[in-house]
Each structure stands twice: as structure tokens, then as C-alpha cells.
Symmetry: C2
DNA sequence: TTTATAGTTTATAACGATTCTAAAGTGAAA
DNA sequence: TTTCACTTTAGAATCGTTATAAACTATAAA
């Protein structure tokens, strides 16, 4: 991902490119593979990888702005912390509760043959398949 | 469900049949259809339907004991509150985010044709299909 | 029955994740 | 450069949940 794309992510999220936001955006989006994180884990990683400091509120604000703009998705995980995903395409997840680790499953790796009709007056927005793992 | 079943639920959960617990168990299990709730919603309903008073801690403790004994299941829902379900069989859910309402889907109403292999060394514990609804 | 005791309820404190606040700081247009 | 709306920040507040400790109660032995 080019530097210009980082600024595009920020611009399309309605965010001015401040030092912190550029660092966060680079950290999140300048990578090849999907990245799953919580605000807490992101904060720790940012502290390690950069020289800047980040207030938790800044990370929350920025992550939510990216999410609202569709650059991050929130993953359905039971538990206290909210998990985010840089993969915003339609896809599914393995969840390893031993390690609290999420693993992406491409949409085409799951084929659903039969699904019930949505209740009266409602439509199906999306289908999430969640595969819990054990050892 | 007969009264004796209520006491069985309590006994098999390692709980003495106190006034509060009997009320909670009756409220949860003496019904024909699946019931979804959060601790907060359960508390409000108990206040309305019974003359007893319940400390929140009592409801938390009792609900968790039922869950640990397998009489309640916890549902995967994004958000702060924990949702419980009196349906403990293997099944799936619709979720209507407009009303925060969960609707059960019987396991046989969903047929999955293709699923990826579990990652190295891991096994699949269970598969949860979550269908988000919109209007 | 009474009594002893292990288990229970309760109000409140503590907790952890998240959100809010208000003051100090900063980017960008004029 | 100056101005001002937008940002960052530290810390307070909030929300759901869990822990605590004192008062209460079911149970079973005496």
C-alpha cells in the first residue's frame, strides 16, 4: 500500500492526517495479510513499533472513524473486548478460544446450501459463519 | 414443565432451591418457546412478574450456574451485554439489530455444504451461523 | 425441634473496557 | 502569520460485570 492510500483512508474517513492518525493508518493498512486486533493490542503494538505516543482515546476515535467509513470491520466475538479486522470483505472466521486468536476464512471457502427465510418484513443483511476451535 | 423439573434444574446446577432461585428457574424454564435475555432484561421482567426482589448479583450467579450446568447457552452477539438462550441445543440465530432481538434458527434449517479444514493441530468445536437482519 | 454450619442474598465496592470532557495543542485556509 | 475549527491528551465518568463481606437461611445432625 502506497503512502497516498493512507491519506485516502484518512480523507475518506473524515480525518485530518495528523501524526498519530498517519501512524495508526500505516500500521493497520500497510500490510499484506489481514490483521485482527483489539484497541488494547493495537496500542501495545504501536508503542513497540513507533516512537510516538498515543492516548487510548485517540486510538478509539481513529479506529471507530475507520470502521464507520468501512475501512475496518468489527468481528462478532463473545467476550469483553471488541475485535476489529482489516478485512472488510464478506468473509468468515475461525476462533481459537485457547489463544483468543481469530483466523479469516474466505467467503468462497464456505458454501451454505440452505438458509431459512428472513422473518416477516425483514431482509438478510449478511451471514456470518463462526467456527469455534478446540485442541 | 412441571415443578419437579425446576428443582431438578437447580439440583443439577449445584444450587439449593432458595426463593429467588426457584423464581428465576420458573421464569426461565416454565415456558414453551425459546427465551433470549440479558441479565438486565431478565431483572426487569422478574421485577414485573414476581413480588420478590432480586439483587443483580443473585441473578448473575444463578444464570451463570445454569449456564455452567448446560441449562442455558450464551449467544455470540456483538455488543456490551451478554445474551443468554434457554435453547441449549445446537442451533443458529437471526439477529435484528434494529430491535436487538435474537430469533432461533433450528439446526436443520441451515445446511452447510463446504467448510474449510481446521488449522494445524486444531479441531472444530462447533459452527455458529449468525444471520444479521435489516428492514 | 434446636443447633450448627455451609451455602446464599444483598448492597456496595471494585474492575475492565469504553466513552466523555475540557484544556492544551495543531493543521490548514485565508 | 494568524485564526479557528479540529485534535490530542489525561483523567473522570460510565456501563456491564465480578468480588466482597456482613447478614441471612436451608439443611441435617443432635
Amino acid at each position: 500500500m502506497k503512502k497516498i492510500d493512507i491519506f485516502k483512508k484518512l480523507r475518506t474517513s473524515g480525518l485530518r492526517p495528523t501524526k498519530q492518525r498517519v501512524e495508526i493508518a500505516k500500521f493497520l493498512f500497510d500490510r499484506d495479510k489481514t490483521f485482527h486486533f483489539t484497541v488494547e493490542s493495537l496500542n501495545k503494538l504501536l508503542e513497540k513499533k513507533t516512537t510516538s505516543k498515543f492516548a487510548l482515546a485517540t486510538i478509539y476515535n481513529t479506529v471507530h472513524a475507520f470502521k464507520d467509513a468501512g475501512h475496518l470491520s468489527e468481528v462478532e466475538v463473545r467476550g469483553k473486548k471488541t475485535y476489529f479486522d482489516t478485512n472488510v470483505s464478506n468473509h468468515h472466521h475461525f476462533y481459537d478460544s485457547e489463544t483468543s486468536e481469530l483466523i479469516d476464512i474466505n467467503a468462497n471457502e464456505v458454501v451454505i446450501q440452505k438458509i431459512p427465510k428472513a422473518p416477516n418484513g425483514k431482509k438478510i443483511k449478511n451471514i456470518e459463519v463462526f467456527i469455534n476451535l478446540k485442541n
